[in-house]
Amino acid sequence: MQQNKPSISVLEAIGTPNAILHSFGMTVYDSAKVVVQENKPIIIDFNGVRNLTSAFLHASVGNLVSLNPANSNLITITGLSNPQWEEKVKDAIALALDPKKRDAIEYEINKLFSE
């Protein structure tokens, strides 16, 4: 049951609503990694976060998923205030699970370079 999972508030962990730095992401990663390594469920709560970068997500969520790829479903993300952030979280998880994945944007830009 979700309410029994340990939860980490990103806002409280990094002390700012701007989750933009890799180092901020590593703070969240450090706070959660023991739980993930023990194969226990955990909630990463983004309530109150105003700005979010892929740098932060790769350092936090991406690295947590990489710790235990087979059990990535034990990590629950909540409180994303911007619908586009859900895509960014998915990208961070997908890249953590499959580093060779190339998305459509990259393909489009690659085409530009070959023109």
Binding site: H22, N51, T53, S54, H58, S66, E106, I109, F113
Partner: protein, 277 residues
């Protein structure tokens, strides 16, 4: 020693080379007093002052030089450098500038510890500037903001310098142009990228690699440099996008990519974005 600027200093390869010439001439001196003469300047893109300030502060710190400027010459020939805060940075007086014409995005410096200040600057001073008002959709604003926050993150992670990020912009209402510049004085693109990918041995190749969405972020996953969204926006809007790192001046003209190799280097990375509408 006195160094004289002359003519125009614009956001292009020639303008950058002029600043590099200044940098390499002055960097020969140590513990000296050096005078900058602006008496023959007739045009200066305010955003280029981000590069000039980065260079001058580096010369002051590394070479213990003292830079002297006749501020009357600036007031006479390029007063925009007073209005955008360049002079108050050089005088180190912390004076808050107010551009009555509202044509500049103030010249600011941000250390990695100032993430919140940088966000406020990007949101309010840059993307809320009257020069962009009504010209960008909310989605585009979000994407551009996100790109600069990614750039800030990359400077924290990769630039290997404790020096700040320098930022500045200028709006040209008549020309319907808005120019915005970000400068770091770190190691540039090549150092970290070549460690990750041995096949990349030139700054040009490193910029190409980075702009395609690659990154050398620590950890097992790759990220992105924030450059890709800016390039996408420029491609859609015919804007310009310049990246200068090492000896490479990389420029997206709005329709195509041009690359120039320069003889001299300046450390770090400079990114120009030129909006047109």
């Amino acid at each position: 020693m006195e160094y004289t600027f002359s003519g125009e200093l614009k956001t292009d390869l020639v303008g950058f080379k002029k600043l590099m010439h200044l940098y390499h001439i002055i960097s020969r001196y140590k513990g000296s007093t050096l005078k900058l003469n602006f008496g023959n300047v007739n045009f200066f893109d305010a955003n280029m002052s981000a590069i000039l300030l980065a260079m001058l502060q580096k010369l002051e710190m590394d070479n213990k030089n003292k830079i002297v400027i006749d501020y009357d010459q600036i007031d006479a020939n390029c007063d925009i450098l007073r209005r955008n805060g360049f002079i108050s940075h050089m005088q180190k007086n912390g004076e808050q500038v107010h551009d009555q014409r509202k044509s500049t995005v103030p010249l600011k410096t941000f250390k990695a510890t100032q993430a919140d200040d940088f966000v406020t600057y990007i949101e309010k001073d840059f993307l809320n500037h009257r020069g962009l008002d009504g010209h960008l959709s909310e989605r585009v604003i979000d994407k551009i903001k996100e790109s600069y926050l990614e750039i800030f993150s990359n400077v924290e992670l990769h630039s290997e310098t404790s020096r700040p990020l320098y930022t500045c912009g200028q709006y040209y209402p008549t020309k319907r142009e808005f120019k915005f510049t970000v400068v770091d004085v770190g190691v540039g693109f090549l150092t970290n990228i070549s460690k990750k990918n041995k096949a990349i041995s030139t700054y040009e190749a490193a910029i190409d690699w980075a702009i395609q969405g690659n990154s050398t972020k620590k950890g097992k996953t790759k990220g992105g440099t924030g450059l890709i969204n800016i390039l996408k926006y420029c491609r859609a809007s015919k804007g310009e996008f310049h990246i200068i790192s090492g000896d490479c001046y990389w420029r997206f003209t709005g329709t195509e990519i041009e690359k120039n190799t320069m003889i001299k280097y300046f450390c770090g990375t400079t990114v120009h974005l030129i909006f047109r509408y």
